[in-house]
């Protein structure tokens, strides 16, 4: 798995280098340099985590949960505002995004809660407890507002329930409730005049269903992204020729839409290589779940792997027009310190679980 990881991170760095070469006038290495620094920090964290037995996570799950809530509240209190959302805490050199790290914390905490219940996983009460535990951080993230990360938190909740062994019936009921809530929020409540989500947020989510409706509005990003991806053709347009990226037609091409940018520059070949590397990594992760030592580790591993899969699918899907627009970064590739470090540490936890397998 490490091989896959190294290859992935390395490829990601190289790709991002091309993507961001023309971003900062006079300093083509600006973003790459920062990414490299975070990659190194994350790697150190990853190696450190290898020595921690996952059992400690389970034991101190309540502490970890308190820390998660504390960080999220901290962001709300003293976070810096950027483009209408308060997600970051400024620490001088870089911006720390607690909600990213919270993904890992939440996975561990939920797994701990469920694993400790043992057999009682089959009861409705256990499920309710899990939902309640997850609800608070999800709500805090939602209020930032960060719909994308809130969705990931939801995915983590689903994954932990799934791998901890909750009954199919309970899972089905939860799924139905989720769909109902989604329908109400997106279509029913606005029809009655109640806006749980702001109209622009709704538009971003539903725009991928009808991109040609409003070319200048919410669907603009999607259309530009699809154009960017498509224009990459089989072998890409190269770094210099990628006009969507270089002329700023593709927004956020170093964070949310980085895949589209890579697809434009490296073509089908380059994008496929990236996807294959992800597939390799995920597949290795699945194996870790299979050979985990106990339910807790299995659940943690399952949540980490599923969270990774979810983020990859939503981000890439968004750039190619089959998923709604959310602010989810592409793991190991998107420019962003907190995400890179968190993901590397998560792989570290995964590896720690793998090392202690049956």
């Amino acid at each position: 798995m490490f091989a896959a990881l190294i290859a992935l991170v390395g490829y990601g760095l190289w790709a991002v280098d091309g993507v961001t070469r023309h971003d900062v006038a006079g300093d083509p290495e600006y973003y790459i340099y920062r990414q490299l620094v975070f990659a190194v920090i994350g790697s150190l964290g990853m190696i450190g985590v290898l020595f921690v037995d996952p059992e400690y996570y389970r034991r101190y799950r309540k502490v970890l949960y308190a820390g998660l809530i504390f960080l999220l509240l901290l962001v709300m209190a003293m976070g810096t505002d950027a483009r209408g959302s308060t997600r970051w805490i400024s620490l001088g050199f870089f911006q720390f995004q607690p909600s990213e790290f919270g993904k890992l914390l939440l996975a561990i905490v939920l797994a701990g809660v469920l694993a400790t219940r043992g057999r009682r996983i089959g009861e409705w009460r256990t499920v309710a407890v899990a939902v309640g535990v997850a609800a608070l951080p999800t709500l805090l993230v939602f209020m930032q507002p960060d719909i994308g990360t809130a969705l990931v938190y939801g995915a983590i909740l689903a994954a932990t329930l799934f791998f901890a062994g909750a009954r199919w019936r309970h899972l089905g009921i939860l799924a139905a409730v989720a769909v109902l809530v989604g329908t109400v929020v997106l279509w029913l409540a606005p029809a009655l005049g109640i806006d749980i989500l702001a109209p622009y947020q709704r538009a971003r989510i539903t725009a991928f269903l009808h991109p040609s409706d409003n070319p200048q509005g919410a669907a603009y990003n999607i259309n530009q992204s699809i154009t960017a991806v498509g224009s990459g053709g089989s072998t890409g347009r190269g770094v210099a020729g990628a006009t969507q990226t270089n002329l700023d037609y593709l927004p956020e091409h170093h964070t949310d839409f980085v895949f589209a940018s890579i697809a434009e520059q490296r073509g089908f070949v380059g994008a496929s290589v990236l996807l294959l590397l992800y597939l390799l990594l995920i597949w290795r992760g699945v194996r870790v779940i299979a050979t985990a030592r106990d339910p807790f580790c299995a659940t943690v591993a399952g949540a980490i792997v599923f969270a990774l899969l979810f983020q990859i699918f939503v981000n890439v899907g968004m750039t190619i027009g089959i998923a709604p627009i959310t602010g989810i970064p592409l793991p190991f590739v998107s420019v962003g310190g907190s995400a890179m470090v968190t993901n590397l540490i998560a792989i570290g936890v995964l590896q720690a679980i793998a090392m202690r397998r049956r």
Partner: protein, 652 residues
Amino acid sequence: MATITRIPPNRTRFMPRTPGVEGPYRMTPQIALRLGVLGAIVLFVFAVLFFRLWALQVLAGETYLAAAQNNQLRTIRIEAPRGPIYDDKGRTIVGNKLALEVRVWPASLPRRQRARFFRKLSGVLGVPAAELQKRFREQLKADPLKPVTLEEDVSKDVAVYLRERQREYPGLTIEETYLRDYPLGSLAAQLLGHVGSVTPEQVKSKKFLSGDHVGQSGIESSFDRYLRGRAGQAVLRVDSLGRPRGRPRFSAFSEMGLAVRLTVDADLQYASQKALAYGIQAARNDHQWAADGGAIVALDPRTGAVKAMASSPTFDPRIYVGKVNPRNLKPLLDERTAEEQNHPGLNRATSGLYPPGSTWKPVTALAAMHNRLVSAYTPLSCTGSMKIDGTTFKNWDPYANESMTLTHALAASCDTYFYQLGLDFYNLPAQYGSPFQEWAGAVGFGKATGFDVGGEETGLLPTPQWRRRTFSSEIDKLWKSGDSVQLAIGQKDLLVTPLQMARFYALIANGGRLVTPHVVSSVEQAGNRGAVKAIFSPPPHQVNVRPDELRAVQDGLYEATHASYGTSSGVFGAFPVPIAGKTGTAEKSVNGIMFDQSWWCGYGPTSKPELVVCALIENGGHGGTAAAPAALKVFESYFGKRATFQTYVPSD
């Protein structure tokens, strides 16, 4: 609770077992199922992604590549400079100057930012934001894809300021354009016309594109298809804010418009405008306080080429150029303001309608001779007044009492002589029709002259049929003797334009040929020795008039300016170049009050006439006091000589 299971000895562990943890996590069927589900989801997800990627990039790659390239290419239309307008000697009357205009690409200006954009721009340009938005909306409606021109002719400082702040003004560009330049000032403003942006109606007609500049009046409009030239095209790469990246690539070069060469002589035009002002002042000095406008037409009787065409009041054509101040345009565009300022936009030479008064008498004379009602040598009595059918018609000179020949009657402008001619026409049997009006029509009255710049009036030639058509009461529908009598001296319902009069006097001067007055002589390539592309010289056509009859009229006109009884001898008698011509004092009802319109039409030198001048001073009083001196000034300029002595003869 912890059950410790034995570890098979041949299994190695990396780390020691942690106590307190539940038993081994065995692969139960349920777990295997869930793992299987996960595996399936993973495979499904990646399959979807791969397939979608394949569809987008490999299958539809070219389409998106084209879309991406289109994204960043903008076609700009490069407007060609308009052809200049030269006078007959090649001096530039209307030229071009470079200016900077502010334009915006609507596609690059997101709707949300529009209000702020216009507000900021309004502060920079000094134009109210509402006005900018109005221009934006109107042009956007006409053509949503082309850049919208927000302001023409901004200063270099403003241009530099805006260029430095491209980020704050997405989609804004500063482009060079050509604006009309008038190096000789306000010369023949109404005749030249003006250039303006295309109106929405013109865009709809599909002949022009939004943002074009088109001649809207006068010569600019009538000869627009020569003057306009051909626009070029360039392709420019832009980024998502509409900022240009790199240089534009020219796909078609613009072609400058053709130059139009006029028959007008700029010096004579200038002199005519001054003469007009002089004539108006002369009228005022003669207590004609209502004199406030007029027209002068000077043309070559041999060809019909217009050497000068002045109309007062006039305006400065520069008010149409560049940063247009709507207040300046009000006297030209707004009905009420135009009325208050006496219609400066009107070209009175071609569109002003007035009764000709005594300047019409040569028409009557020739018509009467042609129809054998009178001969040049038969004297008729000229008295102070005449009673016809119960109405008394007066002569301007109440003390006149002698018999005159036609020549003398013309020179002295005896009204009663011509009343008799009018009565003779009236007494003709019905089957002759209206020979007087027919003859007048044959020499160009009541119809267009064929002038090559649009918008001339045809005037009104009253006939019995016209009377029946126009009036409703039984009395008014009848053509009475008084109508013929008044028609004979150019009064009552008769209306002519100064251009028609000039054309008629040209006919007298050149021996009976009706010329087509024109102001454009040729269209040629701009520049010093540009190749001529077209020549306009409509040939005159001979009118059926006998030479001896014409001679009588010519003599009459000569005596009018030289004999002691001549009505403008005081003005032209002492001019070194022999001029012949006729005064006119025509009564016209203006807002219910009768005002005398001052006329003078004539030509010179009488041996071989080169120039016909027709001057009209609105509400100017007697022909000899206002119009005649004005016409003299024109002759002075043309021949380069001054009259040695002048007096004004208050007559007709």
